[in-house]
Amino acid sequence: MEERYLALYPFITEASAYVSGLGFSLERLITSRAMDPARSRGVERVLQALKGDIEKPQFLASDDRKVLIELLSYPFSRILVSCIGDNFLIRRYALAEAVSCYKLLHSEPYEFICSIASDFHVDVLFSDHLFDIHFTDYIRLASSMKALEWKLVNRKMQKGHVYISKEELARLLQEAIRDRIQGSLPLDVSEDICQMCAPYISQIQTELQQIKENFGSGDFGAVESSMFPPCMVHAMANVRAGVNLAHSMRFALTSFLLNVGMPVDDIIAMFNVSPDFDLERTRYQIEHISGSSGTSYKPPSCSTMRTYGNCYGADELCSRIKHPLSYYRRKTWFNRHKHEASQQLPFSEKDNE
């Protein structure tokens, strides 16, 4: 594979073999002046991942140096993420790396997509505008996709072959890439190395802290997320970190947010980082839960939450309520009385029990 491809898809086996073949010592990567741009790009990668998308460079034929920098920035990013060792950061980073490749893969020729797939031990044939993969590979790749359409039962399958579009294959590979990167982190990096990276690390940590705080306080317009019960706070943090929620929790969270008055569009925006995000489907599901089809759903009670293993981090107030919505209502009530504020409740006071 050409070097510029290795730089754009640095997680493939050939790329890491290539990098080790270059014979750069770790120390040189971290300390050498000449490697400064690679380190900056490495930090940038992680920061971009925290904020959203990792932007990939475009290479011209004469860009050898740029290619090398991009290529070496990847191991440096991984060292930084590993030194920090924060699970949220790892997930966020792995997801962003994977998403950025997904976007690139779209426009690659089919032979190239097939070669990426084969790096994940998936044999793909291309014929008649469709990619043909064996069902065992399909279920392996699609196992973390929660939307109904990814279930094998909803796929076109003949004699063990599943036929999928380019877009779908790219999406499945995104999952595989994310898995590979997430599974390989944190690397076993020595204290000394982390020490040497301290200035880079602190930049990232500041940003990480910031983002985590934002999640805690939550910017939900009219909705006060600091009043949310622990289970919902936890689920939201997961969603934002790109962790797939179980069906039951996804339903619980969505119906909870709808019931406290969060607008459908905001909820969709929140699920936007979810790995199997699919706008139309999500909108449909959320609107279905919100009652556009005639029924409006309440979130499940605490006991149901517990049954499905969705009750998480229950606190003192939890012991006095039986329903996540009551938690929210009580807490807002307390709060209002404490501050003697005359503001209206940010959600419609329906009886939800």
């Binding site: 279920i139 039962v153 076109k156 004699k159």
Partner: protein
């Protein structure tokens, strides 16, 4: 079961094993084995974590012990006899399906009927395994369990490394769990030609599509054809909600015209305009229920399960656990073909009246002491309704 009965059964089982043909699983050395014996304790106890180094050891064990139930692991282990599961070092596992007639919907009146239903379900499963999943017949082994149902073992190398959630996905496929009905019959806006208003078009899969989609088209077309072929087709059709005489006749016309039927097979369901979407969806849902195979999910998902050894005897029925070719399944009658014992008369004490069809005969036994052919005596003793002597 008293001691005399126990001794009798052990003796008969031993005799069977001394001439039986046992179908050992591939790589039998890597399997864990488990046995239950006819024991006096009220609790059944399985001796497991056993490993055998050769075929001879296995047959010797069966001959010597005459166990009431014999199992081996679907898993292949590095150390199959290690006492702790973790220490066995799991390597891979056959893919297993269990059709337990007891779990099938509908009422069943007799053991024979129950087994017949299990067989039908097995055929449905086979269709999925051979057509959709593309397994070769030689890699799909059907086994009559000797009890209430059928097992299906798949040893195709491509599936041996699948993990539990992935195996569940296969179960969901054959049982149509999670099938997205709304995407099967959907509607699409089509903008009208100049001057005409836009209209809604129904989108339906074509009969040649792979998977459930094509299957549903084929089911729907043949279901409707069957109705139209009936004497009172018009009446039947008018029984559908929203179908009047005119629509009924139109539907019949469509099915009498081969060209139109072809169009329908191609997925253009608009030729049946007048049949409303709700009705079609109801028919589809019924079709899905009829076509899906009911299999026991936890069995397939369990990659360390112990499963009955083909060729061994089922201690709860005295019947043989039998390997079958798919071509043999059609004619297979468990209560005739899986009976291994002969007609020699055996003195038995029947505890309560009992009726069963065996070897093609309706057998009814009264309560009390009597001489019974050995195959009946063994069956009744195994089922706990008779004692020896």
């Amino acid at each position: 079961m008293n001691e005399k009965t126990r001794n009798f059964l052990v003796n008969r089982f031993q005799a069977y094993y001394s001439q039986a043909e046992i179908h050992l699983p591939p790589e039998h050395i890597s399997r864990e084995w488990g046995f239950i014996s006819f024991s006096d304790s009220s609790e059944t106890f399985m001796k497991r974590h056993i490993a055998f180094g050769s075929e001879g050891e296995i047959t010797d064990y069966l001959k010597g012990m005459g166990p009431s139930h014999s199992y081996y692991s679907v898993a292949y282990y590095e150390y199959p006899s290690a006492p702790k599961m973790k220490e066995k070092n799991w390597q891979k596992a056959d893919l297993i399906f269990d059709i337990d007639s007891d779990h099938l919907p509908g009422k069943m009146n007799s053991y024979a009927e129950m087994l017949e239903n299990g067989k039908k379900e097995t055929f449905k499963l086979m269709e999925f395994l051979l057509d959709d999943f593309g397994f070769a017949e030689k890699d799909v082994h059907i086994v009559f369990s000797g009890g209430r149902g059928y097992h299906c073992h798949i040893t195709d190398p491509s599936v041996l490394h699948l993990e539990s959630p992935e195996r569940r996905e296969i179960v969901d496929y054959v049982s149509a769990k999670g099938i997205d009905i709304e995407r099967i019959l959907s509607t699409r806006e089509v903008s009208g030609d100049a001057g005409r208003e836009s209209a809604q078009m129904m989108v339906f899969p074509s009969g040649t599509e792979g998977g459930w989609r094509g299957r549903i088209n084929r089911y729907f077309v043949s279901f409707m054809k069957d109705i139209v072929a009936m004497d009172k087709a018009e009446e039947v059709l008018m029984g559908f909600k929203g179908v009047g005489e005119k629509t009924a006749r139109k539907i019949i016309e469509v099915f009498e015209n081969e060209a139109q039927v072809e169009v329908l097979k191609g997925g253009n369901i608009d030729v049946l305009s007048g049949l409303n979407k709700k009705v079609i969806n109801t028919l589809i849902e019924e079709g899905i229920k009829k076509m899906s195979a009911v299999v026991d999910e936890p069995v397939t998902a369990d990659v360390k399960r112990l499963i009955r050894l083909p060729g061994s005897l089922h201690g709860g029925s005295g019947l043989k656990v039998m390997s079958l070719d798919i071509n043999e399944l059609e004619k297979f009658e468990p209560l005739r073909d899986a009976v291994v014992f002969g007609d020699r008369l055996v003195m038995s004490k029947v505890i309560k009246p009992f009726a069963v069809q065996m070897k093609g005969k309706d057998i009814e036994v009264e309560q009390g002491e009597q001489e019974l052919p050995e195959y009946v005596a063994v069956h009744l003793m195994c089922r706990g309704v008779a004692e020896y002597g």
